[in-house]
Each structure stands twice: as C-alpha cells, then as structure tokens.
Symmetry: none
Subunit: 251 residues, 2 copies
DNA sequence: TTGTTTTTGAATAAAATTGATTGATTATGA
DNA sequence: TCATAATCAATCAATTTTATTCAAAAACAA
C-alpha cells in the first residue's frame, strides 16, 4: 500500500470514528506500529489530525463542517443587518417560512419572544430556533449535503400543506434579466413554492452574486420585496427598483 | 478507552446530569478513582468543568454553550457498543428509519459507505448523516425542544408515506408489564408508527430506565428485536426474553 | 545493472499514563 | 466539640505509549 493511500485510509477511519487508537489503526491499515506513528506525525504537522496519547482524532478544523461555518463568516456583518431589517417586518402571531441558507439563519436571534410560528427547510436553523423557545415546524424532504437544506418532491408536497403570512428567502444573486437566482435547482423549486404560499414575500439579498439557476423570473419580482444592503452594486439596485420594492440596509 | 475519549465521556455525562460524583464517574467510565481524579483536575484547569468536593459539575462557561449535536449522554460507551451491533444488522441497499435520540445517533458512524437510505425524525442526526455522504430523508413535523425530535400529526402523516426495511428505535426503558416506554407521548406515537411501517424493527435499549409513557405493550414486543447491553439488569433481561428476541452486547 | 534515496520494521531507551497506597484534609453527625 | 467517615493530593511501581536509532527493504535514477 502506498503511503499516501494509507494516510487517506487513516483519515477515512477517523472520519467515521472520530478517534482511534494506534492499535486499531495498525489493525486496519496492515502497516506496522512504527509506520502508523510516522503517518500520524506527518498528518498532524499537516494539521489534518490531532495526535493524542494512544491514538489520534480529527483536528478541530477537519471536524467542523467547513461549508456552513465558512459561508456564514462571509459578509456576516452585512447579513446580520439585512436579517435584522427583515425580522422587523413581522407582527406578533404571524406564521413565517424561513428558507434554508446562512442569511435567514441570521434572522433567528431577532425572532425570539415574539409569538411567531416558524416553518423551515433548513436543518441548521432548527436547533437555533428551538433553543430560543420558538415554535418550529420542519417541512421534511431530502437532506442536501453542504447546505443542510431539505429539498425534493417530498419537501414540495409537505410545503404545500402550509400557508404563510410571510416568507423569507435567501438568494445568491439577482440577475438583471432572469430575476432571482440560486445555484441549486432543487432549492430553487422550494423557494418558488414558498413564494406562492406566502401572503408577503421577502428576498434577503446579500450582494455576492454567484448563482445561475433562476427561481423566479423578473416578471414575478413584484411578488416579493427585496431586502439588500448598500453593498449591492448601484446599477443593480437601480435596475431592481424598476420591478419591485427594494429596501436598502446600510452596513 | 483512550484518555481523550474518557474525558469526552465525562463532559457528556456532566452535560446531562449537571453534577456527578466521583463514584458515578468511575462506574460510567470504567477507569480507576485515581484516573478519574486526574481527569477532573485536567478538565478543571482547562476550565471545562468545576470540581466540587466528591465530584464535579459543568463550568458556567460550558453550561452556557449547549451544542445540540454534541448532546450525547450518559452511558456513552454502552451506547456505542449497542449502536455498532445494531448497524451490523443492515444489508446494502436497505432503507431504514432512525429514531431521534442519542442512542441511534451513535449508529451513524457505522452507516457510512454502505449504500443505505436513511429516514429520520432526529434533527441532530441530519448533519452527521449528510457529512458522511449518506442519502438522508427527514420526515418533517413539529420540532421538539430538548431532543430536537420531529413529532406531531404532520410527522406521523409524513412518516406514513415511507416504508422501511428496518427501523431502529431508542427507548428509555422496558417496563415488565407495559412494554417499551419513553417519557414523551408525542415521541411515543412516532415510534409506534415507525414500528408498523418497518419490515424488521430493532429497539436499542441502554440500561437506564426513567421512562413512563408506553409506546408498545408487552404483547407487541415480539414485533421487534431488542438490542441491549450486559448492564441491563439480569432479571429484566430474563423477563424480556420471554417475549422477544434479545441481543446482548458486552460492554 | 549499480548507487542513492526513501520508506519500512524492529529494538530500545525515554516519557507518559495508570492504579494502588499512604497520609493529610475535609465533611458529617453525634 | 470530637470522632468517624469520606475525600483528596502525593508518591511509587507497573504498564503503556512514544521517540530515536539502525539495518533491511523498496523505490528510484542513471
């Protein structure tokens, strides 16, 4: 076995077990104890794992899902401001849909103690909502790796059983011709459905624009109010305002 | 057991009990008194816990940051062994239901790369499943504070749209007359429904017994195989075996 | 092929962890 | 208050784990 292969194997083992003893690793790789030790030293100096007396565990860095943590650090201040503005639009007793995604995640602290009912398709949202004592419903569906969003036909069907006073959607971009865009077609369908089911719809648009799949074209923009920040490019804001209400939050 | 694992275990125990005596910790970790004391000293100097005469409690800092995903619990070692045995009962390509709860949570590391489809009502389960690339469906429903389980009429309805090759249920106790018990009536209904929908049913029973709500009475015990450890009291095991298959895992 | 470098496995001494013991300290109840 | 029991910290020997060294094996290049 190539030493690269063996080190991959060690990482894989740790991924499933979190920690493993030297003996387990010797057993599972077939290499000698000395070799495993050398591998662990190497992997540790690469910050891939953390050695502990008698074995090894995944390094903190590898352990944390980088995707959601990383994403939420991007434009975080901007997202917070947008989220706060969005949350202020709710009245007591209302039922709202919180789309999966890091921007809507930031709304949660502003939803506590306000007698709201929250429906969401974002798995990471749920513990944060529950821990604040917010009445929370999850729509169900297929879990999507990376974002932890619930999508697919089952999600759509479950979603259709609700109706909302307000829905809050995160997006990746606002295309001047195509409308709101998001990189994942599955998530796009969920967003589109929620848009249909809500009395009022708000689109939380942080200024980064990387999406490509359209979930609502420009003719339907008027259905939702866009909440964005002054970091969205001027020309885009101007363009948007032709079609719909735009609320600009200063960062 | 690696000393890191043991310290993790101590933290987990304190998270659920808030305080624990030295003797309890010795009992639950299997280490000697001296070792537990040393661990407590180390953990205290790391400001992870606070030592008190005769035992330890969580430090204020630890107590205020409750990470639901981490919220495993007492008898962690026991649960791991039971979980491993349970996971070994699955064949490639099968579709299974994973009940919410900390015991089934421990099964997840053993489910990776086995071509399984997992359906769950446990929110904390989802990120762990997804991060291992396991195809995951969430049933939907009302989120329950504390356990992060999805319950209620919507959960039941969503659940009924699936059928399973196997379902794995966590329980809090096995009552000699009433059957399986769990402290929450809402969760009991979900468990009962999953039991109906699965070809094979397994009940993961760690030995602690605090539940009171019945979700399956003794006459229906035969529907499921109980997987427990040698820490379940002898008389209880003997009694159980009158009604159903029992698999005993040695800790 | 030959010579060089890298990797591996075994041996061994150093270091860390553990469990038991001891005596000191602290809590508990009369 | 005192006596008793429980808990604690310190020490030591036994065990386990680790780092180091060295020779053999493998990979590599000329």
């Amino acid at each position: 076995m190539l030493h690269t292969e063996r080190r991959e194997t060690i990482i894989e083992i740790l991924k499933t077990k979190d920690t493993a003893s030297i003996h387990e690793l010797v057993e599972l790789t077939g290499a000698s104890e000395a070799t495993v030790r050398r591998d662990l030293s190497k992997l540790e100096s690469d910050e891939q794992i953390k050695r502990i007396h008698g074995g090894a565990s995944l390094s903190r860095r590898r352990r944390n899902e980088p995707t959601i943590a990383e994403k939420s650090s991007v434009n975080q201040w901007e997202k917070k401001k947008i989220a706060e503005a969005a949350a202020s639009l709710l009245e007591p007793g209302e039922c709202l849909f919180l789309d999966a995604g890091t921007t809507t995640l930031e709304m949660i602290p502003y939803l506590a103690d306000r007698d709201l009912v929250v429906v969401t398709n974002g798995i990471p949202h749920v513990p944060l909502l529950l821990e604040r004592g917010i009445e929370t419903y999850v729509i169900g569906g297929k879990g999507k790796q990376g974002t932890g969003a619930l999508v697919g036909i089952k999600a759509i069907e479950a979603l259709r059983e609700f109706c909302f006073d307000a829905c809050f959607l995160g997006i990746n971009g606002v295309h001047p011709v195509h409308g709101y865009t998001t990189p994942d077609p599955d998530e796009a369908v969920v967003k589109r459905t929620a848009l249909d089911l809500a009395e009022r719809s708000y689109v939380l648009a942080d200024h980064s624009k990387i999406g490509s799949i359209t979930f609502a074209n420009i003719g339907e923009l008027a259905l939702a109010e866009v909440i964005t920040s002054d970091r969205l490019r001027d020309d885009e804001r101007t363009n948007l305002k032709k079609y719909t209400d735009v609320k600009v939050v200063s960062t």
